[in-house]
Symmetry: C2
């Protein structure tokens, strides 16, 4: 039997991400994608049931999966709060800086009902995404380092500003002077840490 052409599979995914980043999810069509990848539309349907299936797998596997791996690299739930948070922020910034297209689809995750639903269902089936971060937060609550909020609340406080800063970083890529430098990014990280930690 003819072997899978992994290049083609990867081409579909990365070119799809590129189109989404440049023209928007609403302007990604199967024929446009096939043409850009230099394949027949039919080929996409061999690998994916339909357009929704492609989008969901792109989002869950290609974007969230890789993002999780990158963010958790070298992170341990037992780390001190300050060290752990800094590690997570650095990892996230590093990952997105070299994966701009993934970031674009990531943003759609909060808007598109299709992706949102897929994320929820997946979180239920596979157990929580970013489980080590959850344990990290729980331990720091137990130690009295941070307040006892639901973890969704902790996540909002911790990561929402980071993602917004990444957005600004990309906005400023085309301009003469970048305002979101590594230094600014990490100063913000310290602001967030300071807000969250209890006075000892």
């Amino acid at each position: 039997m003819r072997p899978k052409n992994l290049d083609k599979e990867q081409a579909i995914r990365s070119i799809a991400l590129q189109i989404i980043a440049e023209e928007g999810l609403e302007n990604l069509t199967m024929q446009k994608l096939a043409a850009a990848a230099g394949i027949s539309p039919r080929t996409i349907y061999i690998k994916y049931k339909d357009k929704d299936d492609l989008l969901v797998k792109l989002y869950i596997e290609e974007v969230l999966g890789n993002y999780e791996t990158a963010v958790l690299a070298g992170f341990e739930p037992e780390m001190a709060f300050t060290d752990g948070v800094k590690k997570l922020w650095l990892n996230a910034f590093g990952y997105f800086k070299s994966n701009r297209h993934a970031f674009a689809l990531m943003q759609y995750g909060k808007s598109s009902p299709l992706l949102n639903k897929a994320y929820q269902e997946m979180n239920i089936k596979e157990g929580d995404f970013f489980a080590p971060v959850l344990r990290f937060l729980e331990q720091n609550v137990a130690k009295g380092v941070i307040k006892d909020f639901p973890h969704q609340v902790h996540r909002a406080l911790l990561f929402a500003p980071a993602l917004d800063l990444v957005n600004e970083y990309f906005d400023y890529l085309g301009r003469p002077k970048q305002i979101i430098t590594d230094e600014v990014f990490m100063l913000c990280c310290e602001v967030v840490i300071k807000g969250m930690t209890n006075p000892s």
Copy 2:
């Protein structure tokens, strides 16, 4: 001459927002919108040049415009930092709680290149959105209450967590117990304030 039917104009806008919220921007079509509003597709084209024009006006006027008005109600740039931030957070939470559909399109503003571009261009033409917030931040930098960051950075730190919490609030609307209560929301506001303010 036949008078403009303002109800119809408003119906187009609010039903468009509803479809976007429930099915996603990528599933809003002119025919679906016309059918849901009980009018002919042609009627939409009397009021809007084309689909993009409709989306951009929906986003800028209906969503961002109303959001700005609601958030700035009773807010003064001269307020003490803590009071000002609390006012902004409360206003934003209150507005979105009763405008869920507007929040959905708001989220698309960060993802969709069309809306993103429209926002940037509009910010240049009309002067900055949320100008009173800018003055508020500048004055507090001058007073040494908060650090001297670019205002985009301040905005990320200040508002990104709030929007993320609103998202969680809506996620939990269908579930037995709401975790994002007014109390939790305002506790988070205090966390953010604490992080941003310099020790005095």
